[in-house]
Symmetry: C2
């Protein structure tokens, strides 16, 4: 029998609901794993074992609240928690204690989840790294901004965690840490109480070790049972898209894509090529302009009143954003809208696109890596999921990304379930 901390969220929820496992035992197992590994990984911005155990005991003493009953979950520290400090990854908010839980936290608790603690985020979910290390190699980044969530789930500290993505903050760390990470369609999960970075892009999602667990989380948060994926009714039609011209994809990523393509073909998926999305590189630039512009305005209080406490990389991003003119911002938004209008033609007969999740293996710890391959899809507001299965030349994970049609999160999850089985068989 495997260690309890290795349980998937779905398995744990089933056993807790059936009375064959207590939330307390599961949380204890996760806390023991954390005690063993946290000094190496640094996934947590706040962790109070007694508080987590008390919440677990309370679940054990109450009727089953919902599909996440008793499941420990990590909450990215840009999400407000009324009973835990919430620092947004910034010295400017050291010890900050919000008045309320973020909506997604309140919904997770209502579904029975045990909030294990707050996971490390880059400052304001931008690009300044926190303390987290890649659990596969401590000299490499776990990716960002959902650093602690991806590293903690990868390291078996908890089965499930919240992430957010504005550029590539879920898919990139999931790829670097070798876990499943999903950014759903823009707007799927309520954002109230999650610190805004760029509100026209910010999207809440999750990190887990299986596609089913991502579905469990999203279905519970949204009352959309169809997000709990079943195998697709038909063999999926998947377009393999590699942006051209592009020298961003390293050999490890090209190999991961080729391996995934082969595995999917062997499993019976209908595959085809998609040579180019119009103006992929232009969308990268447009996403960056929009994100920096909105961040600089939305973080006005911090920029104007807490300049001394903001990290240099964040300050540089805000300065970049202030240098984007309103006319430049408007043009970038028009470009995004025009690209969204072309998505039907781009997808054509395909249900999803197989694309790079990240440029390659996790780079050294000094940065959180480049969200190049995530920016356009986030800008287009499409659902995206990263799947693990491949390893690069240094033995570090390299994920692949499946991108679905707008609003078709359930279909993307079903295809991801199919792909997960196909890729897993190759591992």
């Amino acid at each position: 029998m495997p260690d309890l901390f290795c349980l998937s969220a779905s398995e744990a929820a089933q056993r807790i609901a059936a009375g064959t496992l207590t939330a307390r035992a599961l949380v204890e197992a996760c806390l023991e794993r954390i005690a063993l590994r946290e000094s190496d990984v640094g996934a947590w911005a706040h962790l109070d074992p007694d508080q987590a155990l008390a919440e677990a005991r309370a679940r054990d003493q109450s009727p089953v609240r919902g599909p996440l009953h008793g499941v420990p979950i990590g909450v990215k520290d840009i999400m407000d928690t009324a009973d835990m400090p919430t620092g947004y990854g910034s010295r400017a908010y050291h010890g900050h204690r919000p008045a309320a839980d973020a909506a997604c936290v309140a919904l997770a608790r209502a579904a029975g989840a045990v909030i294990l603690g707050k996971t490390v985020t880059t400052e304001f979910a931008a690009l300044s790294p926190g303390k987290t290390r890649n659990p596969h190699h401590r000299d490499h980044t776990p990716g960002g901004s959902s650093s602690g969530s991806a590293a903690g789930v990868a390291d078996f500290m908890m089965p499930l965690a919240f992430g957010t993505q504005t550029a590539g903050s879920i898919l990139r760390p999931a790829s670097f840490c070798g876990v499943v990470g999903m950014k759903p369609s823009f707007g799927l999960v309520a954002t109230c109480g999650t610190k805004p970075l760029a509100p026209s892009l910010d999207t809440i999602g999750g990190v887990a070790r299986s596609v089913a667990d991502i579905g469990l989380l999203l279905a519970a948060l949204t009352d959309r049972p169809e997000l709990q994926p079943a195998a697709p009714a038909q063999l999926p039609r998947i377009g393999v898209y590699h942006p051209q011209p592009c020298d961003q994809a390293q050999p490890a990523t090209l190999a991961a894509l080729a391996a995934a393509r082969e595995a999917l073909a062997r499993a019976g998926a209908v595959l085809g090529n998609r040579a180019a999305f119009p103006a992929f590189d232009g969308l990268v630039v447009a996403q960056q302009a929009i994100m920096n512009y909105e961040a600089a305005r939305n973080l006005s209080w911090e920029r104007l009143n807490r300049a001394n406490e903001i990290m240099p990389r964040t300050a540089a991003m805000l300065a970049d954003g202030m240098a984007v003119t309103p006319a430049g911002y408007d043009a970038a938004q028009r470009e995004a809208a025009a690209a969204r209008a072309q998505l039907g033609a781009f997808f054509g007969e395909f249900d999803a696109m197989l694309v790079p999740a990240a440029p390659g293996e996790a780079p050294p710890i000094a940065t959180t890596g480049d969200p190049f391959f995530n920016r356009p899809w986030t800008l287009l507001r499409l659902p995206c999921i990263a799947l693990p299965g491949h390893r690069g030349p240094s033995g570090l994970p390299v994920g692949v990304q499946l991108v679905g049609r707008s609003g078709e999160d359930a279909r993307l999850l079903a295809i991801a379930l199919f792909a997960e089985a196909a890729l897993g068989a190759e591992r």
Copy 2:
């Protein structure tokens, strides 16, 4: 010479910058007006005269910061202020003190504004009235949710105030109180730190006694100098649109529209009829579904943890929102997207549409009135401005609404400046 509290924001800013008026004298005049009238009007959720005077004195002792230097401004109490309590109009947040200013407040301060205090909002900017009365007749509503902002500006307590609109929360109170109120295009002003109600609709705007003052505020907040309106280069082309079939518009509103149409024609505007926007009534229903659905999810913490402190009307709205299914929400969003795609054809040769701002005069105090005539335009994310000038049978103000093309806020403001002069000439 008129009393100082009657000054427009533009005039005040000019005189303060020129050294012929101090911020302190202006704030003192506003505070005297408030002391005289607040017991009748009830515009303020928080007002600390000493604090406001200290901020005014600080402005007088510093170089001119920006275009709002020394101008007192009312801040709707769903916007966070680090140095003033922020109650979101709810007992659930009584005495709440945020860690930071909302982005719009920080930007206003950076432009030199003096934050006079926090104006009354309905609970969470929804439909449960606060204490504010219509300054023209205390048995009537000032409208909501930007109740204190509209009533306070109308009553000469301050020249300028922030509002927000999710359904009709700026245009309706502006119409009822006889002031100018603008909801810009969705996304124009940064929303971070403003309590979300329905994030796909929530828009920050302003209330003033002149179109120029609205332009002053929006230009200062957004670094878009073109929002400071000049007379339009060409005579504006305005479509007069009265939704059909519709029994929502009372005779007072029909009379206000007819009078505005005549005044605009006399001033030389090119006018034409627009008989029907496709599915106006359907968009009213879709807006309501989207707003209630998003509010119920975004206010999850309050709904699940503070049910006893939430007002019955708010609770009913959240219950309505929980009864909207995800499929119903998705369908409403698709309907909105389809309507947005038809806007080019709807506007045709016209630069703006002249439409009702509210059903009629302000109704009795028990409600904040019906946002029927605002919901579709908010859903379509268009810039809208309410202009005063007409009086109903009870002597209460009845505004009209001009709706501009998406993103063309500067052009709408220029047309509104033209219309303000035309309507003012009729007064």
